[in-house]
Symmetry: C2
């Protein structure tokens, strides 16, 4: 057990001691948590697989560690919760130096410290066919305040917490298809490699009951807004001119001969929040974000009766739903 | 998203609707749980990777589903807890028929129903390099009653809840190295393919404060008892003659020219509980197990001062610790 045990010891050193309400962390069969009274528990798991979710040719391990925790925290943010603890199941290729696993862990710890989370345990196994990471995160929210996907109402305005398409532009730059001036290059690659979960915005929206529905932008606005629409039984209209598409995204799109709104709406991985708000709360919303020192959210459209998502531009309207990333595009099930 | 969404819909049909305290299961960014007051939360994650933890040449997918949940429930059993909910992160090879994913899910649901657990959500991703499964399970235990690894005291007796070596013998049979008469063949292969987490025994030990320490036998007695000894700062002496090694394990060992106690102590995957008990509680222990209708636990040795694990046999004593499965046997970390 020497190799595995040394790895676990090194990992626990990076992740630090568990906080007081974690009665038992690394080193037993399970973790033991003393749950705070009068809170609901938020609980999520995400798997990241080498060659599918990340490419180590352009993803430094420390960034991968950050991102793997950040995308889980983003799920908690999308519910309006406060993330607390994480467990890590690390599948590590035995041919890869174990020291590199510590770089990965350090990146995870960077994000954990930034967002007040503790990695309290997990499982380490050999994964000869490539690095795999599963993280499960627990958070909490006051009863009844969680931001679900199914509450959007006809007439609600649709907002996003920040710019769209930066991560998709960053991925294009990292893949080597495009070059930008250094500062803009850094902006887009950081958006892809080190996404920032919108925890403060989520907690504000939930705590002040500002949003009727929310989701985080992992697959892209087209696909993620579609989830909200399907769950809420509504449709949506987006206004092309209102989409917050920053200059570097325009530049990358122009280099690649793409429509910038394709990067913005279908690129995914921005990890901003998309949420819906009753129009009567517009002023309160902007005041609350300003008071909290958060960037003003951008209205990008409205919820309408019916189904589907239309994008309204200079040349009229087009359908855009159903075009996000599908892990099993051809995967029919028998008897469908 | 059609393929992925159809898969998720089919999975939710198999796993059934969430129980009332699960306020939100499959279909949102996270699950929402209403935690029961005055309970501590037990929380675990395990990753299973094709080619490392299982071989689909001799493991039916439905058995793999059962086992993947059962080994997580075994961690909750080893803490003396009641398992409640599971989240599944499924990495599925896109070349493999999605219908087979439903067989896997059905096996998981078989175990979930058997042990009163609900699979309430998760994540489905493509995994081209091979099937990967991560499961995270939550359970609960009354405050202060969890069975930890670090409480074994010098003089305590060491018990196991059931036979040793059956799973290791089953693995040899499945790999095709050995043949046994049908009934005994079925016994050992079922022990390997469909392990039974000892939840009732764990809850009894915790509820009546019978054990000073406990662990589940995943890596084998040698390695798992070593964990208890290391965490408790003690050593152990086992008595060879007292090891519960059933007839089929003897037969498989004899076919392979092995010592049967090697299968029993180092084979792993039996998922029985190993626990330590103050000798003054011996009678109470046996009475409690009998009253609960559980098989009598078997005493296999005692906790002693010092470190290490010795096996006492006809030919004297030998050291046996430190010989369990290591995922990273050669994995030195720089600066060790």
């Amino acid at each position: 057990m020497a190799g595995e045990r040394r790895l676990i010891t090194a990992l626990s050193r990076i992740f630090g001691p568990p906080p007081p309400r974690v009665l038992c962390g690394i080193g037993d069969d399970t973790a033991i948590l003393a749950v705070e009274p009068e809170q609901e528990l938020l609980w999520t798991i995400d798997a990241l697989i080498e060659g599918v979710h990340f490419d180590l040719r352009y993803t430094p391990l420390r960034s991968l560690g950050w991102k793997s925790l950040a995308v889980n925290l983003s799920d908690i943010a999308a519910m309006g919760g406060e993330p607390q603890y994480a467990l890590l199941a690390l599948g590590w290729p035995p041919t890869r130096d174990l020291d590199q696993a510590l770089e990965l862990a350090q990146g995870m710890q960077d994000a954990a410290e930034e967002y007040g989370v503790t990695v309290i345990g997990g499982d380490t196994v050999a994964a000869p066919a490539g690095l795999t990471l599963s993280l499960t995160v627990i958070g909490q929210v006051r009863p009844g305040l969680a931001l679900r996907r199914d509450g959007a109402q006809v007439g609600d305005e649709i907002y996003v917490t920040g710019p769209l398409g930066l991560a998709a532009a960053g991925l294009e730059v990292l893949r080597g298809g495009v070059e930008l001036p250094k500062d803009r290059q850094d902006t887009v690659t950081a958006a892809f490699l080190r996404p920032r979960p919108q925890i403060a915005a989520g907690r504000l929206l939930a705590g002040q009951r500002l949003a009727t529905a929310a989701i985080d932008l992992s697959d892209g606005v087209a696909s993620d807004l579609e989830q909200v629409c399907l769950r809420s039984g509504v449709g949506a209209v987006l206004t092309m001119a209102s989409l917050p598409i920053p200059q570097p995204v325009q530049e990358v799109a122009s280099c690649l001969g793409l429509d910038p709104q394709d990067l913005a709406l279908k690129g995914g991985e921005d990890y901003q929040l998309l949420f819906t708000v009753n129009p009567g709360k517009r002023a309160v919303l902007h005041l609350a974000f300003a008071r909290a020192g958060l960037p003003a959210p951008t209205g990008i459209g409205s919820i309408v009766a019916g189904a589907g998502i239309r994008l309204r531009g200079a040349k009229g309207e087009q359908e855009i739903a159903g075009t996000g990333f599908d892990h099993f595009p051809d995967g029919g099930l028998r008897g469908d």
